[in-house]
């Protein structure tokens, strides 16, 4: 018996040793086994003679790619991701056969990128999250595009990338070399404005606010004077939610009245960047909010409501005054109108607490970069592919047919642009241009033939809505476009900000700095808790001073240094 047991153990030991050996062997022998395909291996292909932004490769080259999707992709019958209007255009016009290795929507994208990097299985051309872009660029895994960019980027692409003065483009440089093209986007759309129920203003004989005192007066009336005339005190004065960096029920617009900001990094005239929440006006702003809360103008439950919950109150007709962004005509403001056809909204610029004009904060997030793997034979192919998108969509000379074929087809509702690789919009928002063009046509200064075909579409809807006497029921989306891009729209407010140079653009928009990734969450929590406590009256206003001290001590000073360093190294050389 004893003997047997011993034998069993011995055998177990041997078997486990063998297994360990096998595992080690399996791990060892495969590292060199797999050669990376070189991407475009057709040895006979040479660069076209008159090489340029849209010159074709003969014979065609092949490139593998990856794609992040929106999640709602629909295709024409017979089409799929590897065979659609864009992949056919790449093959026919550029001589580039694009094969998507994988595609995924939303948060899964980051997972798949991590997996691809870990298994050393990167496609030839890539859409990379910012963090991975910099890691791979520093590790030498990406092709240097510096020598190709000037030669191959088309004029449209260059103007798209330079619409903000090239700021976003500059973030793509690593040690002076360009390894990728940033997916640029506009920041104007993040500016706050005030949204007010116009029918409530009319019910109470109030006028549009011009100062912060006016706003508070309106809030008082909306809370106490039954603006919806239903005989019940069921409306809130002004809508706020619990997060400092949210779009609907935002604080940024309110803080801006005191020239302070909840989240933005402000670059002063001396060139130093400081955190907006440390600005001297913040204490007064918090004291004012506290006063408003004490007077019952703010929902007592605001501390547990996020922007969606506040959106529900807006849609239900309980909130008629709040700070929000340009997209409200597509969101809860629209729902409020569907639920109550008498409702009407207006948007007005944010107001100031003193004589100095209030400047709304804007921010932009650099999320993705388009890049090429280091060993690909023709790195410029990526730039050509991106050129084609610019040529079809953002080119001022593009036509309605082109837009229906490569952009959104109004008949089927399919957004073909979603299948393009490296689709990027100008780094200043398109709606700025569309608003100018549409309203120039409405005022008779311009003709429909001279404006961008996408603007023509919006113009037609808006015109139709106006011609039918602004009947909200006639065309379900007419109101949306009218309030979004029409003569009384949210983009009119943004264009007012632009004309008067009123944007406070957050100076920092890079990757989280080292200290920020370590301590940012703690600092954010400290800030939100302190602010909410002061607001609800459970802590004295003087707590703000100790918050400032603590914020600096707990890593804030270091973050400020790092932010300044990032700014100087990115833009000042």
């Amino acid at each position: 018996m004893v003997l047997r047991k011993g034998k069993g153990k011995q055998a177990a030991l041997i078997v486990s040793l063998v297994l360990i050996m096998l595992t080690i062997a399996a791990c060892g022998n495969d590292t060199n086994g797999k050669e990376q395909p070189s991407g475009n291996d057709s040895a006979t292909t040479t660069r076209p003679e008159n090489d340029g932004p849209l010159a074709k490769y003969e014979p065609a080259i092949e490139l593998t790619a990856m794609k992040n999707l929106y999640g709602d992709e629909r295709y024409l019958p017979g089409d799929d991701l590897n065979n659609n209007v864009w992949t056919r255009a790449y093959a026919e016009e550029l001589g580039i056969k694009v094969n998507y290795k994988w595609a995924v929507a939303g948060e899964g994208f980051q997972q798949k990128v991590t997996m691809s990097i870990a298994s050393n299985d990167l496609p030839d051309i890539m859409t990379l999250p910012a963090k991975d872009y910099f890691t791979l660029a520093k590790a030498g895994k990406l092709a240097d595009l510096t020598p190709y960019f000037d030669k191959y980027a088309s004029d449209t692409l260059k103007s798209t990338l330079n619409a903000d003065g090239g700021k976003q483009m500059k973030t793509a440089y690593v040690d002076g070399k360009l390894y990728g093209i940033p997916q640029t986007g506009g920041s104007d759309a993040t500016a706050d404005m005030i949204w007010i129920r116009q029918d409530w203003l009319e019910n109470l004989n109030l006028s549009v606010p011009e100062t912060l005192d006016d706003v508070i007066e309106i809030a008082m009336a909306f809370r106490n004077d039954d603006p919806d005339k239903n005989g019940v005190k069921d409306t809130f004065g002004i809508g706020f939610q619990k997060d400092l960096n949210s779009g609907t029920g935002s604080y940024e617009g309110f803080f801006a009245a005191y020239h302070a900001y909840g989240k933005a990094w402000v670059r002063g005239e001396d060139g130093k960047i400081t955190y907006g929440a440390l600005k001297p006006g913040m204490k007064d702003a918090l004291a004012k909010l506290r006063e408003m809360f004490a007077e019952d103008l703010i929902d007592v439950e605001f501390g547990v409501k996020d922007w969606k919950k506040v959106g529900e109150d807006i849609a239900a007709g309980k909130i008629g005054l709040f700070y929000g962004r340009e997209g409200l005509p597509w969101m809860s403001a629209k729902d409020a109108i569907v639920n109550n056809p008498k409702a009407e909204w207006i948007s007005v610029p944010i107001v100031s607490s003193d004589g100095k004009p209030a400047k709304p904060a804007t921010n932009v997030t650099m999320e993705r970069y388009f890049a090429v793997r280091a060993d690909v034979q023709y790195p410029e192919a990526l730039i050509k592919i991106i050129n084609l998108f610019q040529d079809r969509i953002n080119n001022p000379k593009t036509t309605m047919d082109m837009l229906s074929k490569f952009g959104v087809d109004p008949v089927s509702g399919i957004n073909f642009a979603a299948y393009a690789f490296g689709g990027l919009d100008p780094s200043e928002d398109k709606p700025n241009m569309y608003f100018q063009q549409i309203n120039a046509v409405i005022e008779g200064k311009e003709t429909v033939d001279n404006i961008h075909p996408e603007a023509v579409r919006y113009y037609n809807t808006i015109k139709n809505y106006m011609d039918k006497g602004m009947d909200k029921g006639a065309d379900p989306l007419g109101w949306n476009y009218y309030k979004f891009l029409g003569p009384e729209s949210s983009w009119k407010i943004i264009s007012h900000y632009r004309e008067n140079n009123l944007f406070e653009r957050s100076a920092w928009f890079g990757l989280p700095t080292k200290t920020m990734s370590q301590k940012g969450a703690t600092l954010d929590k400290l800030q939100e808790e302190t602010f909410i406590k002061i607001l609800t009256g459970s802590a004295p206003v003087s707590d703000y001073d100790s918050f400032v001290e603590n914020w600096k001590k707990l890593g804030g000073n270091q973050i400020t240094e790092e932010v300044n360093e990032w700014y100087n190294s990115t833009f000042e050389n």
């Binding site: 153990k9 999640g71 298994s119 299985d121 919950k309 729902d335 959104v408």
Partner: protein
Amino acid sequence: MFNFIILTFVAFLCLLPILNLVAVSFSSRSVVEANQVGLWPKGFNISAYEFIFSNSQFFKSLWVTVQRTVLGLLVELSLTILVAYPLSKSNKIFRLRSFYVWFFMVTMVFHGGLIPTYLVVNELHLVNSIWALILPEAIVMFNVLLMLNFFRAIPRELEEAALMDGAGWFVTLTRVYLPLSLPSLATITLFVLVRHWNSWFDGLIYMNMPDQYPLMTYLQTMVLNLDLSQLSSTMLANNPSMLEITGRSLRAAMILACTLPILLAYPFLQRFFVKGMLLGSVKG
């Protein structure tokens, strides 16, 4: 009677969220966005369901899920039985038993982690095939333990009688043990069914194209990603049909359409959860 009322009340409380989901799925968008739907739909319409069932991806994903569930069930049940049976024997009969028990137990405690697991699956060239969803979790040690303990509870005399009559180990397993183990088989079947039906993460990392996603991965990408906060209003202006898919009614309808089949599986398995099969087989 009192218990009956209390229990009915509690059961009804559990039903409330589902009833609300049903009501939301049949209501119109704006009423839902104003949070005014309780247990009865307002602005009744079926556009959410029309949208789901007009999208071929739903059926593709359903098919993938059915495949993985059926295949996964077959593979997992047979492997679990084949592992649990020898391990249920004593050390005397199966001499390496202790080693194998520990060999399997290690997997309950230690995991390779996400990236090593992915690398293994990738190197085995399973990525992008249905087997990537089945093989990596083909044996769940917890189920083996369940089965093992159930086998142990079966009186040894039955096995001895079978061996005496000339049956081999395999026949003893299939003719004696398995028919007596229906309750535990049903339990494991249910576990496996629910796990295969519900898991979404493996679909996300092992499948390369969205049209190969199992149902829950598809549901996950639809419900979590198509949020208004993710969409710029410029995009909405360009493509207003996106508005349709951001509504809560559509999500509610998706959740119902995806979970209903597995909910229906419960009552059918219920009847196997019967004990007392051994009664009368061993006397004295």
